[in-house]
């Protein structure tokens, strides 16, 4: 289908392309790191035997009992097989921000100030959430 025939904007097509590739990479990362986790390619931070005793606890108690970091503290544990999985999860969480960042210049170039503002505010909201400013434990 020719996008022009149905007036699909350039921003929408760019957003779709970035989303497509970002999601593929994120899912491959997630599945690959999970395979490494269950196959025991490197030691997990929380061993499976301990995990089964702790996963019924509320998250704050679980974190305290398993010495698990909050926020982006998992990056320090990314070599451990369980926290390696966070690479794929965080990647999936960042895909939408990247797509909005890609679409924003298009709105600005067309002088679509309302949508440029909506995109900029959305990027700020998502980036603030990703940074752990809302609800993260510092």
């Amino acid at each position: 289908m020719n996008p022009q025939d149905h007036r699909i904007s350039h921003e929408q097509m760019m957003y779709a392309r970035w989303l497509d590739w970002g999601t593929r990479i994120g899912l491959v990362l997630l599945i690959g790191t999970f395979a490494a986790y269950v196959l025991g390619l490197s030691a997990p931070h929380v061993p499976f035997e301990q995990l089964t005793r702790l996963w019924s606890l509320p998250v704050d108690q679980y974190r305290a009992a398993a010495s698990v970091p909050a926020g982006w503290g998992w990056l320090a544990l990314a070599a451990r097989s369980d926290y390696m999985n966070y690479l794929g999860i965080a990647f999936l969480g960042l895909v939408t921000i990247a797509c909005y960042l890609r679409a924003l210049p298009g709105f600005l170039a067309r002088g679509d100030r309302a949508y440029a503002l909506i995109a900029a505010v959305e990027i700020a909201v998502l980036a603030t959430a990703a940074a752990g400013i809302f609800g993260g434990v510092h």
Partner: protein
């Protein structure tokens, strides 16, 4: 005669699926009570199986996986609800992210329509996620049960309109140029669309975002009726745009759970893979299975899972 025989066979196949799912769910609490004694791999394997089934029936019934996943896994598996809600959000997010590119390219999803609604929803979903992590578990569990039972009612009663009549756009919708055209391959024609009641739609999406963040449900069950019945978007555009809105709203809330450390890979990865594979099978079965029958099965499952969540929250069935 042959038709009624086929129908009977289909109905009996679905009844068997429903009974197997129900038996699995009923057996789970007893097993969950002794979770620490069971080998760890039992749980990801069981999650994969249940998520696979959820993926199949979710597609057939036209609901996302998240709305089935959270009450079922939260009610019948040993994981704390904090981890289940985070997994539910990531599950809904992965599905929405995977489906959105094709919908955007075909024009079945409108970025222009999605962006203002997603902005409101993403702010309130962050608030919902924070609220969910701050409230006592039994309160969240009870509210989840009530919400799921309300969704059952909504699914049972809600009507859909293929091409709603929008006599005139509202001021805000006109200012944001919330209109367009998409090609409907089934109808073989281009469909012009515009929306009305944009301010009411924004308020509705604020509420939907709050619920999505609070319960980790995804929100296709609410997005589509609001876009279609309240704002007047054609049904196919409403379904496509709902997925795009969901991908943004769930991303915001998911970060709150990720930053709190509420993501257990052993729960998240098998569930995502299970639902995605199940959804592929479900999409193939769409041609041969009666959607209305599956819808009844899903309503039955949600009724059981909602009642379980409510009773668990009230401390009547732990």
């Amino acid at each position: 005669m042959r038709k009624s025989g086929d129908r009977l066979r289909r109905a009996s196949r679905l009844t068997r699926i429903f009974l197997i799912l129900l038996a699995l769910l009923w057996a789970a609490p007893a097993a969950a009570a002794d979770a620490a004694a069971a080998p760890w791999w039992i749980w990801p394997a069981a999650l994969f199986a249940v998520s696979f089934a959820i993926g199949i029936v979710g597609v057939l019934a036209g609901v996302g996986g998240g709305v089935l996943f959270v009450p079922i896994v939260g009610g019948f598996f040993p994981f704390h609800l904090d981890f289940v809600r985070a997994a539910g959000l990531l599950l809904a997010l992965s599905g929405a992210l995977s489906a959105a590119p094709a919908l955007l390219r075909s024009g079945m999803a409108s970025m222009r329509l999605a962006m203002p609604l997603a902005l409101v929803g993403s702010v309130t979903s962050i608030a919902g996620a924070m609220l969910g992590l701050a409230l006592p578990t039994n309160m969240v569990q009870t509210a989840l049960g009530v919400t799921i039972l309300a969704i059952v009612l909504l699914m049972w009663r809600a009507k859909r309109s293929e091409y709603p009549d929008v006599p005139a756009p509202d001021g805000l919708g006109a200012a944001l140029r919330l209109h367009g055209v998409f090609h409907d391959p089934a109808a073989g024609r281009d469909v012009q669309w515009r929306v009305h009641r944009t301010p009411a739609g924004l308020v509705a999406f604020a509420g939907i975002g709050l619920l999505a963040g609070l319960f980790g449900l995804g929100a296709g069950w609410a997005n589509v009726p609001v876009l279609n019945l309240l704002m007047g978007a054609p049904l196919k555009l409403a379904v496509g745009t709902s997925g795009l809105v969901l991908s943004v709203v769930d991303t915001s809330a998911a970060w709150v759970y990720i930053n709190r450390g509420a993501v257990l890979p052993v729960l998240v990865a098998p569930s995502i893979v299970g639902v995605m594979l199940g959804a592929k099978i479900g999409a193939r079965l769409l041609r041969v299975v009666h959607a209305s029958t599956v819808r009844r099965v899903v309503i039955g499952l949600l009724l059981a899972a909602g009642a379980r969540a409510l009773l668990k929250g009230l401390g009547l069935w732990n």
